[in-house]
Amino acid sequence: MKLDRRLFLKGAVGGGCALALGLRFFHFAEDATGYAEQVEQLVRSTCSPNCTGACGYKARVTNGRISTLIQAADYPEESYNPRGCLRGLSMMDLIYGKDRLKYPLIRTGARGSGQFRRASWDEALDYAAGKLKAIADKYGPEAIAATIQVPGTGYVQKGAMVALAGLAHWTMHHGYDQNGDLPMFWPMTFGVQSEELESLEWLNARYTMIFGSNVMQTRLPDAHHMIEAKRRGRMVVVDPDFCSTAAKADEWLPIKADTDAALALGMAKVIIDRGLYDAEFLRDFTDFPILVRKDSGKRLLAGEVRALAGATKGRVIPEYRRLFVVHSGNGLQILDPERLNPTRADLEGEYQVTLTSGQTVAVETVMTALKRTLADYTLDKVAAITGADPKQIERVAVEAATNTPLHIIYGASNYQWYNGDLKGRAISLLPVLTGSIGKSGAGISTYAGQYRIRFNLKSWWFPEGSRLNWVPYLHFLQGKGPRYPEHGIKAMVGGWGNPFDQHNMSNRLKDLATSGELEFILTTDFQMSTSCQWSDVVLPAPTWYEKHDLTATILHPYLQLQQPAIKPLFECRSELWIFRELAKRLVPEHAGHFFPELDENAAALKVIELLLATGGPETRGITLEMLQKGPVRLHSPAPGDRQVPFYEQVHNRQPFPPPSYPAPIAATAQFLRSGRIEFYKDEDLFLSEGEQLPLHKETYVATEYKVNPKAREAYRLRFVTKNSLYRVHSTHSNNTILLELQDNQPKVFLNPAEAQARGIANGDLVQIYNDRGKTRAHAILDPGCSLGTAIFEEGWWARYLADESYNSLTYPWIKPLHEIYFVPGMWSPTTVWNECLVDVRRIPA
């Protein structure tokens, strides 16, 4: 910090000369305040809300307060400078705003009433510890659930909570699935949690396709790389909405919402039919040549085949692998799951195979099966499903296949639908068919919250003796599920999140809190969010300008520090300190893990050193001192430590998947038993659902229409809740500067025809409603908004919606397939915010 901090003393009153003094009264009578004799500093920290932009900032501190914030612009690659946005630039509004938490609070009124009394730290901590202990004693420790929200924006402070939860054997929800940011097509197809190019790599793409990701707003600091990428290639945006990203694209391809799978399959068909695919790549790196039994739908195992069974004997492969069969010029052949050597396997073909039982079965390659599936996706049919122009579809498909590297961005809003996994699997066909994987500027990326952990955190997060009961958030909301605690979840311990706005699906959380089903709610935040309002104990935390932490998110793969520019305001204490104090009260035998001998700042720095030392290959050689000088690139296998997914797999022919933190490889690789990119899934449920290969399924059939067939008529608008330029989810909801930019109004965007049909005019206050709940907003007639859609910018605190939470409308659907791919702390069902039907009506003035 010292190196990056400029200290200078100011002399006499700025510029005021003696001559002017006489006229002072006439000049500046009412504000003669000078800034004499004050100490100023510039301190670098990292803006760390849940957008995971992790932009470096410099805070100018004047008289102990932050007077200005500006991008640090100190990334070694000039291209990454300046990183930051309007939210980060107005952060002082939250730090010094009216909702800032100042003291520990204990609830006095009814839940949600917002009535609290100020308590001392000891009192609040003792009280909380007492409640938690009683609940653990009565229902078992797994009745207490903590949520780990966005690891990458602060590994140190959050780690303290995870460590305590583990040591106390609590239940844990992962923010990734809680938020719906976990795109299940990734584990299904690539065996990883998720992957992405760093934004500097966008420039190396020759063709970029964005399927429903509003990067101009949701990846704002990186957006300029997209504009630059346009200069070297083309950028096509597939989105039902003419969003600002579509406005910046070379080409907008509007489709009906949730029909991306059909579009991608139609394009895949064009590419295959015209022979524009990279056969070499498909043969060596994908499951395309793998033989599938036509009778059972399962992939043919070498051990089942009479001619190959012998060869499998004694062949040692990891438990999570299988020996599948391909066909090549020499006949049947075992596919080595541990080495991706060239096999010259046939991509297409149908064969008869004799099994060890003597039975003969018909088999075909995955590609042959896929082509059969694709036969349904002719241009005309795809055009009918998607509403897009068949000529445009065909042209874009051909351009994409002939202008590689192809990069695809698959946005969160697009996969936060019930069949989002199918869409993702279909869309990933495009980069895979064109061999655009594992190369600079190539691949498919998801830029959701980026909850993916970037290095090994075990030493701090999961100490010896830690045991966590990972329960998907959706199971919590539904009140049932595989690891759901016997007595239910009785206590919520939260921080870094605002679930009472953001995850209050069908009003579940508020109902649980009101009914008393939830016996204790503890939240730590730096401002009085809706969730704090609903809590029993509220603990005031510092912002990222008031404490030490370590961040690593990935659009720019840097390790960076949060550093205190100012002292924590009022009585705020860092989370490390808070959870250490709770640990002392709850698991005194483990309190030593939290460096009790050090003050909270020194302890945080110690943890950073520990994490760097034990982080694995990604942090090798990186020290605290280096970070104090500025951001340092994480290591990666790709040249220049660039973030290029699957670089090793493709360049060094290593089996898929690469490991995903924090799980051991065995836990994740079991989903890619062939060691290759897999489009064919043969678990029973996939077969019974008919989803062994990607296909398009109609929206709402398995959800809204199923539970309420009348919904088809009653609720005619898709409720698409997308992210706002002016907020990071609910953070900055109360930012007065940003509220001014929004006319202080929540808005819902409607196609003018939809509005007209409902007698709604621009600016009218409308109610958005369905059977589950309601909310309100001002209607904006938006000619870029597709028919049948109501777009709402999520993240408003309930108080701006007359206490009608917008998530009272949504429902915690679970796609059963997602439950198969469960890995603790990594994978669980995707929350599908957009799978929600509503209608809109004017609220009479």
Partner: protein
């Protein structure tokens, strides 16, 4: 002093005092107390300036008629004319004060005048005109400064002759400054290329014509109130009425001429202006045309001139009409945000860039692309107070000074 006079003085004096208190309060709180905002930066106060400046023309009309054009029958009204001129021109300067954010710094006009600024010219001519009308009044009064007032009289051999000679000499100068205040006040608006509603060469001559009309009507009204509508003055009144009528006609001609040219050219900008002027403010515009015309026409009627109530009502109608005309200087200039453009790819669309209002109300919009201004209570109070000041000054002068012709008083 009559009881009516006393009451009139009390009321107008009290109103003026209230306005001063209101202004002090506004000084303390800021112009936030007005209903102005960034996109609508001038309102009632500046309309008031234009109004008072116009009213101040009466002195000019009389002096030039008498001494340049030899209309002798107007002579008894000359002092009254000079007095109303002085009262109105000082009111015009006063009404600017509450519009100034930092009036305490007005000394900067002396220390650092920017001679490019029409406002500086205006301040100069207004001051000169005030000085000249005061001087002129003084010279006209000179022969009558007797008794206790004698100590104010300059010692000259033949006060009447002196007065006559100098009145004749000052008249052309006064005419120059009088025309000057209208022209230059008009230039403040008509030089603003940013505001198409104002940006017109017709504005200055129009200001002059309005001023001749309304200034004369003010003198006519004052005279009728002071002297009554007796036969003795009918000749003079008729002449004044004729001047009023002709001036109003010229004014309407200039105004229409300007409108026709604007409307004929018909670019998008003018369309919007016309929409505001003849849409939102249609009734006000009809009134600003009809009221002065009707007032002037009525004054031409002998029946009207012979009845004090009728004359007063007609002159009042004209003055109110002109006041509305002055108020309407603003809306079509400010309701239409000047930064308008045709966005790329949208020919035919005319779009105004919203402006930050500069006024913060939690929960309301900061950025506005249109704003309907109506003066706030304090603005009205201050304007009325300044009007009261002018009345007060005239009444006081009439009460204390030899303003009225002797045979009447």
């Amino acid at each position: 002093m009559s009881a009516t006079m006393k009451n009139a003085l009390r009321i107008s004096g009290a109103l003026f005092l209230i306005a001063i208190v209101a202004w002090l309060y506004q000084l303390k709180e800021g112009l936030v107390l007005t209903n102005l905002q960034n996109s609508y930066s001038w309102g009632l106060y500046i309309s008031g300036l234009a109004f008072f400046v116009g009213n101040a023309a009466g002195g000019l009309v009389l002096s030039s008629s008498i001494y340049l054009f030899g209309v002798k029958k107007l002579k008894p009204l000359a002092k009254l004319g000079a007095l109303t001129a002085f009262a109105n021109v000082t009111a015009a300067m006063l009404i600017v004060l509450p519009d100034i954010g930092k009036p305490i710094r007005l000394y900067n006009m002396l220390l650092h005048p920017n001679f490019m600024s029409p406002l500086v010219w205006d301040v100069i001519v207004l001051n000169l005109y005030a000085a000249v009308s005061a001087l002129y009044l003084y010279i006209l009064m000179l022969p009558d400064l007797t008794g206790p007032l004698a100590r104010f009289a300059v010692k000259v051999a033949d006060p009447a002759g002196f007065s006559e000679t100098w009145a004749r000499r000052i008249a052309p100068v006064a005419l120059l400054f009088a025309i000057g205040i209208h022209v230059i006040t008009a230039w403040i608006f008509s030089t603003q290329g940013a505001r198409d509603w104002w940006f017109s060469p017709a504005m200055a001559p129009d200001f002059v014509s309005v001023a001749i009309g309304v200034g004369t009507a003010v003198v006519l009204l004052a005279a009728a109130l002071a002297y009554g509508t007796g036969e003795k003055y009918q000749d003079a009144y008729q002449t004044l009425a004729l001047i009023v009528f002709m001036a109003v006609c010229v004014h309407l001609f200039l105004m229409m001429n300007d409108l026709v040219i604007h409307a004929w050219f018909g670019d998008a900008e003018t369309h919007r202006i016309m929409e505001i002027a003849w849409g939102d403010f249609a009734w006000a515009h009809i009134f600003e045309v009809v009221a002065p015309l009707a007032g002037a026409w009525l004054l031409l009627q002998e029946r009207v001139r012979r009845s004090l109530p009728r004359l007063a009502a007609s002159a009042g109608l004209l003055i109110v009409g002109v006041f509305v005309h002055r108020f309407l200087i603003m809306p079509a200039a400010y309701n239409n945000i000047p930064m308008t453009m045709t966005p790329l790819g949208l020919p035919g669309v005319h779009w105004s860039l919203p402006i930050a209002s500069g006024r913060f109300f939690p929960g309301l919009s900061t950025f506005l692309d249109s704003y309907a201004y109506a003066p706030s209570f304090i603005e009205v109070v201050i304007l009325l107070g300044i009007m009261a000041y002018a009345v007060f000054l005239v009444l006081l002068a009439i009460a204390k000074l030899p303003i009225l012709a002797k045979e009447v008083s």
